[in-house]
Amino acid sequence: MARYLLGRLVVSSISLVLVVVIVFVAVRLMPGDIVDQFFQDTGARPGQAEALREKLGLSDPIPVQFARYLGELARGDLGESLASGRELSTVIRDRTPVTFQLAMMTLIFSLAIGLPLGVLSAVMRGSALDYLLRTIAIGGISIPFFWIAVLTISLPAYYWRWTPPIGHVPLQEDPLASIQHMLAPALVGTVFLAGSIMRMLRATMLEVLRLDYMRTAAAKGLSRATQIRRHALRNALIPVVTLIGIRFIFLLSGSVVLESIYALPGLGQLSLDALSRRDYQVVQAVTLFMAVIIIMTNLVVDISYGFIDPRIRHSRA
């Protein structure tokens, strides 16, 4: 196990290095840089732009910049924003709770809706209700979430002159207002995630329901509810855990769009702003931070999979 863990960690760090290289090169290959943007409206005196680039360290050859960046990373330093000069570890620490809260609220709503409906759909297999639930679930994963997000603002505003609260209130300041402000984006994310969980759970429940031990459970006279709760659901949930891990990544990715629509100052909005401003340092830091979370999530999911189900060996790569 220790050997397996160590191996996985080494392998994960290789992937992280790859992410760092890809992002570092890609941001610098984007047309225009932050200095161009800075002087776009005002115009620059001759030499002014070059001086600024020199100061920001953008005039060095890319390999030199990369070596310097790696040196900083090795010391645990994420660097500073090119635009604001703020320490990026601080910026990320400020922004993370917003994205995390959105992800958690979405996850909780999705589980609350997706798990019972998924079980219902499987148990009632072939019924009209099953058909309806399946159609709803597939609708949930098909409907563009950014479209619903825009509609949650535009339709009530047009017809009732009302919009769901926009912006963000920190959880520790006023928990109720904070949750209220994040209700709309979290529910929009839930449409997709709950649909996804329903589909997965229905499929795994159906597999489990026809196994021998389910017949045994029925034969020894357990009530249908106990059969399902104690024997079927427990086993059917295993792959759903994996799915939740994978979908967590989707939530991080979706936060880019949702945070921009609902004006939430999270990591997604930060990265989107940084990208359009060509703030290389911020883009690098946020993608690296997200990549660490994603790769760790995958690792934890893989390991927990082995713990939940001992039949799965860790010998496979």
Binding site: S142, T163, M290, A291
Partner: protein, 303 residues
């Protein structure tokens, strides 16, 4: 000689007829077993027809601006209303169909190529090649998809080709895992061992024995990736990183164009979104039906 020739020809003819009959039977059986998927197929077919003839059946010129008739609500002369520049929404939605569907198909085709190439090499060769390829896959999965897309598309410049290639590349790399898994299980089959034993080269074994047996997951990946490819392009256009105006795309219509008027003209975002949602829904129900028919074991592995 002559008689064998004739005999072979007629046998071929009969074979063809029964193949056609078999296809027809398969389709009617599919329609009976999977009504929702069949509905999806019909909607998708309708979408493809619109993609082909869309530009010639628009009630108005989709590019023609008419500021005096800007922000007209649906109804009165403009079935789905007009945008801020007075352009007919219906016409623009119709014209944009071609772009979305073509882009999705191109991305998926390219993605399949990558997925099969990476998956087969990784799953069949194993060892160092597998190790190296899988680390690249890990890295790709590790970058949040939308950020990756925005980054690389800005880098390469947004065009039909670049967006299709980038979405395809990402989908191909990430779905190669499923092909790899399928290849790894097929590799252990007796018929592969038999082929190797009688001296077939690795390439021949791959092409003649492994590939045909992983066709089912490949078809399923293709159908489910098509929906996400179309969605991915729409997110990109929605955020203003897609192909540049005036060529309309659904994402751009509900994003960059509609968002400034979000409280004044909800129809600007509503109708392109309906077109997008219906298209993706149709593709996904079809993909689901195909998956259940072709390979029910995959249920869950491609969510």
């Amino acid at each position: 000689m002559a008689t064998t020739g004739v005999g072979r020809q007629s046998a071929l003819g009969a074979g063809r007829a029964s193949v056609a009959l078999g296809w027809w039977r398969a389709i009617t059986l599919f329609a009976r077993r999977q009504p929702l998927a069949t509905f999806g197929a019909l909607v998708l077919l309708f979408g493809l027809v619109i993609a082909v003839i869309g530009p010639s059946i628009t009630p108005k010129d989709p590019y023609d601006t008419d500021v005096l008739n800007g922000l007209r609500s649906p109804g009165e002369g403009y079935l789905l209303g007009t945008d801020n520049l007075g352009r007919d929404i219906l016409s623009r939605v119709l014209v944009a169909t071609r772009f979305s569907l073509l882009l999705g198909l191109a991305a998926v085709a390219f993605g399949l190529l990558i997925a099969v190439l990476v998956g087969v090499i990784s799953g069949y060769a194993g060892g160092i090649a597998d190790m190296v390829l899988q680390r690249i896959v890990d890295a790709a999965i590790g970058i949040p998809f939308i950020l990756f897309l925005l980054l690389i598309v800005t880098m390469a410049g947004a065009s039909f080709l670049s967006i299709a290639l980038i979405i395809g590349l990402y989908q191909g790399v990430t779905s190669s895992r499923i092909v790899r898994g399928a290849v790894m299980s097929v590799r252990e089959e007796v018929y592969v061992e038999a082929a190797t034993t009688i001296g077939a080269t690795p390439v021949r074994v791959m092409a003649r024995h492994v590939l045909p047996n992983v066709i089912a997951p490949v078809i399923i990946i293709a159908s489910l990736n098509l929906g996400s490819a179309i969605l991915a392009e729409s997110v990109l256009s929605f955020l203003g990183y897609g192909v540049q105006p005036p060529d309309p795309t659904w994402g751009q219509m509900m994003g960059v164009e509609a968002r400034p008027y979000v409280t004044r003209a909800p129809w600007m975002a509503f109708f392109p979104g309906v077109a997008l949602a219906v298209t993706v829904f149709a593709i996904n129900v079809l993909g689901d039906g195909l998956r259940d028919t072709l390979d029910p074991r995959l249920r869950g592995s491609v969510a």
